[in-house]
Amino acid sequence: MSTEIEALGIDAGSTTTKMVGVTSSGRLAWHHLEPTDPQIEEQLRRFLEISRKEAGPAALPLVGTGYGRNLVQPADRRVTEITCHARGVFQEMGHGGTLIDIGGQDTKVILIDNRGSIVNFVMNDKCAAGTGRFLEVVANRLRIPLQGMGDVALSSREEESISSTCTVFAESEIVSLIARGHSTEHIVRGLHRSLVRRISALAKTAGLIPPVMLSGGVAQNAAVRDILSEELGQKVLLPRYPQLVGAYGAALIALGLPKTPQAEQRL
């Protein structure tokens, strides 16, 4: 149990739910992560239980963010993941830039200036082809574990060009390529290229303030990082815990909130 945690943030994403505890100086001291349960309210209750075990019974300020933020009943405030991601990455990296967050079901590009203020943001939340879902679907089709996709892509220098712009059509295209005897490694690298191209097109629409930073579950895929760096023509930086950026930002915002009676009631 740690008594140094002063504020909490929950990022209730569509794929994973994350919780972060920060110290009074804004340091990320503790976190917890689980795949998002369809019974989300139950899951959130459990998260709070776990946080009490970790941080003690005292009521702490809590900010909820993410797709399911409106379900985080006990939150003192709900803030969008855009604001939370910007806050979290700015605090950690110490500078502004372009944050690309590649989630399971959506992708966001957030432009942050040198004071941590959001200049612009764009989102792709209608089409799976530019999100983590794309890799998931094709990994499934190829019967490769999702976590291993990056390594498979990196193991190849050559790539098979995938022309389909749609995830569903890409699947058929893969089947066709395999039937024609093309190498799985080349195909997987080509798929990464496809994903990255869509992401970099989105990023360019938002404008690009260097440096480029990556967050979200897919950020852990080294092939995505490498190819994205290639496509954008610049280095891609990674925060220490790419998946926790949103929850971290939420916790920081919670830290800045005045103490309210509502926090007492949570017990």
Partner: protein, 441 residues
């Protein structure tokens, strides 16, 4: 435009450029005459005038590269009343033709990407994105495009050009002449024509001011006469497609139409189409079909799919299918009779309201029906062009009436004229394959 600039132009274009192009054309002519030059068993060889076409287009863009040294430059929409600009000595550039060239050369996707990176939505016309992308990046397969001193936008093809040219006007900070042509839902009324005429007169004033000279009546009359001659020749060229077998396909027409759009009013355009017509009439006399084994004849509606023109040409030919006509290329021929060199501005007001895209959807169906009969078409392909709403809206009803009332097989083919990302190869080939089977059966 200095003396030095003029000299540079003469050197690069008139002397070196012309010489090079002439040699290149002679080389191509020679190549084409070699036995064994053409091996395709399904398609007849390209027309003998083809090297001349290449020379015309290449020279046009070569002139463009150095045009700012010598001429006032105008960027014009494809349906624009260009005659008074040509008569005033402007070099005219057509962003749409340039866009089509980029589509054919497979660079339009990259150029669209540049426009999109600057914030232009993928839901706007792919010609506009190609053009804006080229302007912003400076990239063009033509080497270099001249900057405009003037823009001329005529809305007879669509309203999209209006917004597109406002964007260009803002970017280049040059005057924009707008010729707003009222849409002809059923017929053109007197006040429509009067309105267009007033705008043309105003347009002439603006163009004169920018050019720093007056429009000569004689020059305008001559340019208009040459336009009329060229358009009449084009009409007759298209009509050769009525012959069985057709000596030309719509795919060839898509390529050969460049001069009628971007070099209309020039004397060499008239000469070129006269030669082309001669060659086609020769083919007709000898029953030479563009598709060697013509079994079925089709009509194409809407813009071409530029990045697939060659592939489709081959694909269709392999199946003995000849695309004998299109409403797109026919749009130019239709205008011939209305052009009156004696009253160039007045007749232009009528002519430029008349293109098929400025007339109603019912009228287009009547045109398609008439062409199906005249060209003895076995079926119609309606390209549902995502980028071109004025051409595409109405196709669903047109298709239904063709199949249900006229019993003419008609296929709606979803694609985009210049953005390959909006084209699904698998789906398109499947649909075309099934359609060919319907034609057979």
């Amino acid at each position: 435009m200095s003396a030095l600039g003029s000299l540079r132009y003469h050197l690069n274009v008139s002397l070196l450029g012309n010489a090079y192009l002439r040699l290149d054309r002679m080389k191509l002519d020679r190549q084409m005459r070699q036995p064994g030059f053409w091996k395709d068993e399904h398609l007849s060889p390209p027309l003998r005038v083809s090297p001349w076409l290449k020379e015309l287009i290449t020279r046009h863009y070569l002139k463009g590269r150095h045009a700012n040294d010598r001429f006032k430059v105008a960027w014009v929409t494809s349906g624009g009343p260009v005659e008074f600009l040509t008569a005033l000595g402007y070099y005219v550039l057509y962003p749409e033709n340039h866009g089509a060239m980029c589509g054919i050369r497979r660079v339009s996707e990259d150029l669209c990407g540049h426009a999109e990176a600057a914030g232009y939505s993928r839901d706007i016309c792919s010609y506009a994105r190609t053009d804006i992308g080229s302007v912003l990046s400076g990239k063009t397969p033509a080497g270099r495009l001249p900057k405009p001193d003037l823009l001329l936008c005529c809305t007879n093809i669509c309203q999209t050009v209006l917004y597109w040219y406002q964007v260009l006007a803002h970017h280049f900070r040059v005057p924009l002449i707008l010729i707003d042509t009222p849409f002809v839902y059923s017929e053109a009324r007197d006040h429509d024509v009067a309105y267009v005429k007033k705008q043309l007169e105003h347009g002439v004033e603006v163009a004169e001011k920018t050019a720093g000279r007056s429009l000569g009546h004689k020059e305008l009359k001559e340019t208009t006469l040459r336009s009329k001659d060229a358009v009449e020749l084009w009409k007759r060229i298209i009509e050769t497609g009525r012959h069985r077998p057709s000596p030309i396909t719509a795919f060839d027409e898509f390529i050969h139409m460049a001069p009628i759009v971007e070099m209309r009013g020039e004397p060499f355009t008239v000469d070129y189409y006269a030669a082309m017509l001669d060659e086609l009439e020769e083919r007709v006399a000898h029953d030479v079909g563009a598709v060697r084994n013509e079994k079925k004849r089709l009509l194409w509606d809407n813009l071409p799919i530029w990045y697939r023109v060659r592939q489709f040409s081959t694909l269709f030919a392999k199946q003995g299918v000849s695309l004998v006509a299109s409403t797109y290329t026919n749009a130019w021929g239709e205008l011939a009779e209305h052009i009156d060199p004696e009253r160039p501005i007045e007749s232009a007001a009528k002519v430029y309201m008349y293109p098929i895209l400025n007339r109603g959807t019912g009228d287009k169906l009547r045109t398609i029906r008439r062409m199906v009969k005249e060209y003895q078409a076995d079926g119609v392909i309606l390209h549902s062009d995502r980028s071109c709403k004025p051409y595409s809206v109405g196709q669903m009803d047109q298709r239904r009436r063709l199949t249900d009332e006229l019993h003419v097989p008609a296929l709606l083919l979803e694609a985009d004229h210049n953005d390959p990302r909006c084209f699904s190869e698998e789906q398109a080939l499947n649909r075309l394959g099934a359609f060919m089977e319907v034609l057979e059966g």
